[in-house]
């Protein structure tokens, strides 16, 4: 408190307590990581990571690489947005990856085409029922319903049985993965209708960017909801001090059910985009996505103890994630090493979060 200055009006200003927004630190981290890859690229390969070095293309940046960076994380990014708000309430969602898998399978079954190259697609899951060539709205509604249902169950179990979110969503993670295998006994489901395929592959603004466009829309909506609405205020309040929130009259249980349902909805949307993009659904879809999503949020400064974090942070965390994966591929590092290092990054992000809190507690 030594640097606190007392004015004549008895107002005080303590500059040390005007904290820099944590997102800024994450942003600097992102730039630093990009620079590291840039330098390593020149040292090891004699090539630039981010800038265009080919004469045939007339652009400043290596646009192909930029597109890969964002495209490969955009779908998991949608999960990360959902899990961000869950973590802000002080919870966790381990089920999102499995819910993506289950939703992908169920949704794809409702999205299959009736004819392939002029031949009847008799291997379609619902061929006997005649549920082929359905209007695209059907699989979309199915996907959203699947996601919301899984999230709703998570929310109800967590809010009303008071068991730790870790356990509740772990249960959902295992069950939903089973669900993914149940419909076709583990067989993949392929050949969607053209209109379904166009969800991710059609042209909205520019072809090939759809997942990113969906991510940007969703992230913007969540940013606004968390910052400017009752929903966001109560989400932060519950994560900060759920007992105080309850005393203040916030319906904590109902709000938690809503938060987890919306996280489930995000898993549904992710499954929709993922299957539409890949034109197939497999039982293993979304494996480990939940951990990637949590890692993106934590790297982005969302505190696992709840109450702190933002969508901007998570979006930056997502970019860091994308840059690291692309960077490793660029440096021709094996996928095994990539996974090992990914684990290190996740743990480091959590350690950083714990340190931040310790420092804060000492300042406070």
């Amino acid at each position: 408190m030594a640097q606190t200055s007392h004015g004549v009006g008895d107002l005080t200003f303590d500059s040390s307590k005007r904290a820099r927004p944590p997102e800024l630190n994450v942003f600097f981290g992102l730039i630093l990581i990009v620079l590291v890859f840039e330098v390593l690229g020149w040292l090891l390969l004699g090539d630039s990571f981010l800038f265009n070095t080919r004469d045939s293309v007339d652009t400043l940046f290596n646009e192909q690489r930029l597109q890969i960076i964002v495209l490969q994380v955009a779908i998991v990014g949608i999960l990360a947005v959902g899990v961000t708000q869950v973590i802000i309430t002080g919870g966790i969602d381990l089920s999102s990856g499995s819910v993506v898998g289950a939703t992908a399978m169920i949704t794809m079954a409702f999205a299959q085409a009736g004819t392939l190259n002029g031949v009847d697609n008799t291997r379609a899951v619902f061929w006997d029922q005649g549920w082929v060539d359905l209007p695209v709205i059907v699989p979309i509604v199915v996907a959203l319903l699947c996601g919301v249902t899984a999230g709703f169950i998570n929310g109800m179990v967590i809010a009303y049985t008071k068991i730790p979110p870790f356990i509740a969503t772990l249960g959902m993670m295992v069950s939903a993965r089973g669900m993914a295998k149940w419909l076709t006994k583990g067989q993949p489901i392929s050949f969607p209708t053209e209109s379904y395929a166009s969800i991710a592959n059609g042209e909205i603004i520019a072809t090939g960017w759809n997942p990113v466009i969906y991510f940007v829309i969703i992230a913007t909506l969540f940013h606004l909801a968390l910052k400017y609405t009752l929903y966001g205020k109560h989400t932060y309040a519950i994560g900060s001090n759920s007992e105080a929130a309850r005393i203040a009259g916030i319906k904590v249980e109902r709000h938690l059910v809503l938060v987890y349902s919306i996280a489930g909805l995000m898993a549904g949307i992710a499954a929709l985009i993922l299957t539409s993009r890949n034109l197939t659904a497999q039982t293993g879809m979304g494996v480990m996505y939940e951990l990637d999503a949590i890692a993106m949020a934590v790297i982005g400064g969302v505190s696992l103890s709840g109450g702190r974090g933002s969508i901007i942070g998570t979006a930056l965390g997502m970019l860091i994630f994308g840059v690291i994966i692309s960077g490793f591929t660029f440096l021709k590092i094996d996928a095994y090493y990539q996974e090992m290092i990914k684990g290190v990054i996740i743990v480091s992000a959590v350690v950083a979060d714990v340190w931040r809190q310790k420092r804060r507690a000492m300042q406070g």
């Binding site: 205020k233 007992e243 929130a245």
Partner: protein, 255 residues
């Protein structure tokens, strides 16, 4: 002193299993009056507050508030009736700023969209500044989260919140127990302001100096019973201590 009774309890009793935490408490509070509740640990001070505000359900007895017999099902009911409590554990959200804490659960809405209603942040901020001014609470930067504030500042925010919303009664449970000398002074000033404004107050405190400084009447609890209700001018610290410890106070000494 105004004669209108704002709060009255009759034979208020609370048993936790076999423990008689509160026994036949008859308590009265007049309009504009500040009353202190003192007593040893476990004497029933916090227990009577919990029965009045509806945090717990009483075993037996009756409560009248503002002329009506009341049965609060929970703390929210008592708040809606115009009763505010500053809890010992503050009940603030560390990660929210001052206006958000002041308006927690009662946010001002700009545009109604159910759970996604848009907040009127500017209105809340302006109203917060006014509320802090009215209660003479000085907070350097309203946008700071509570986490970044000292214990005194936090307590001031909690009290300002109660003072801003309480229309009829404020209850404070040990508001200065964890504060330093200067911060305690600030909280005591707020209480004096409330007195000047005529807001009735129940103050639970261990600090007899503070009690004699601030309130009109002192109610002494001992072993779940009210053993004395004394006007400040008719008693002194030693007298109160004798009631607290049971040296005085017929029923208990006889037992």
């Amino acid at each position: 002193m105004n004669d209108k009774i704002i709060l009255k309890t009759e034979k208020l009793t609370k048993h936790y299993g076999g423990v008689h935490a509160l026994q036949d408490a008859d308590f009265e509070l007049h309009e504009g009056e500040h009353v202190a509740i003192v007593g040893d640990n476990g004497a029933g001070k916090s227990t009577i507050v919990r029965q009045i505000t509806g945090v717990e359900q009483r075993t037996s007895g009756k409560v009248w508030f503002d002329g009506q017999e009341v049965n609060f099902a929970g703390p929210l009911d008592s708040r809606h009736a115009g009763m505010e409590t500053v809890y010992q554990n503050l009940a603030l959200c560390d990660d929210l700023d001052v206006p958000s804490n002041l308006y927690l659960g009662r946010e001002i809405i700009k545009f109604y969209l159910g759970p996604f209603s848009i907040l009127d942040r500017k209105a809340m901020r302006v109203a917060t500044e006014a509320a802090l001014k009215r209660t003479a609470v000085k907070i350097p930067n309203l946008s700071n989260t509570i986490r970044h504030m000292s214990g005194g500042q936090r307590q001031c925010v909690a009290i300002a919140r109660s003072a801003s919303f309480a229309s009829k009664l404020i209850i404070m449970d040990e508001p200065t127990a964890a504060l330093g000398v200067q911060e305690t002074g600030q909280v005591e000033n707020i209480i004096r302001n409330l007195k000047a404004e005529g807001v009735p107050l129940i103050l639970i405190s261990h600090n007899l100096r503070q009690v004699f400084d601030l309130v009109d009447r002192i109610v002494v609890f001992r072993r779940g019973r009210i053993v004395a209700s004394l006007n400040k001018n008719e008693t002194d610290g030693q007298d109160i201590v004798q009631y607290i410890t049971g040296v005085k106070g017929g029923l208990e000494t006889a037992a």
